[in-house]
Amino acid sequence: MKCEREQQVMEATRNGLWAPSLRAHVRDCAPCAQTELIADALQENAAKLERRLDLPPAAMIWRRAQTRRRADALQRATRRPFLIVGVLSALYSVVFLLWGLFQLPQPVYRLFITPPGLSGDVAFAAAVLSGILVVVGSSVLVLETRR
């Protein structure tokens, strides 16, 4: 059940200006009487709360927001390079794994003896590098996914 004059009753409780016709209406209308009862109690309570309120200073909130804005901007700026490094690392690790698959049937030391043109030292350095990149790339990807 809703009364069309409920909004007027709320306005009147807020500004204290009661038209005689509205006052008479509230006496006969149950929803408006309820509205007056609740609005009066809540508004008075709100006024009391606000009077004895000690708010944090606006300048402090402003500084905090500025700090956060700078941190967000920095995070946005570093996000893309890290993502690129992560993707490249993942790509490199796939290539390395494919290369490693060809070496599996041979003894371990022969893993580093590779097709003509690629020496054992180079292969070893590549293995170490790819290992590092795999760890870095995976970490970045995991962090980005979580975010």
Partner: protein
Amino acid sequence: MDEQTFHALYAATAKPLWAYIARVSGRPDVANDLLQETYCRFLTSQLGKRELAETKPYLFRIATNLLHDRWRNGEDTTWSEPPEIGCERDLDTQIDVRDLMQQLKPRERQLLWLAYVEGMTHSEIAKSTGLQAMSVRILLFRARRKAAELLGRKERAVHEV
């Protein structure tokens, strides 16, 4: 938004926003934190060039979302507003309203406060709470009926005493 504009906005909106958070959460100690977080999110959202009329519902929306997050995390599920030490107890309003809010569900507190204290229309409440306007109408009607019963009961008890 520059700092001076923000100060003006804060002066115009912080008190009602704090009262809303405190009364809906039942945690005045939490209200300060949520108030700061609300303004921080508002300022970092880069939507600061709105008119005051648009800004206020937006701030209430952020605060409402923060309250919802706390409830989802299982925080503030119980009303824990301490009794006011040294404050005059007004039987007709202060105690009634605290008791009333304590007995209402958070959603009911929210709707009643936005409608009767902030004077928001159903569509404004819908924007501030994320509900449909039609749902606001129904839920507000139920909340009002429940609140009126509780307040009426309290009033009768005071008169009998």
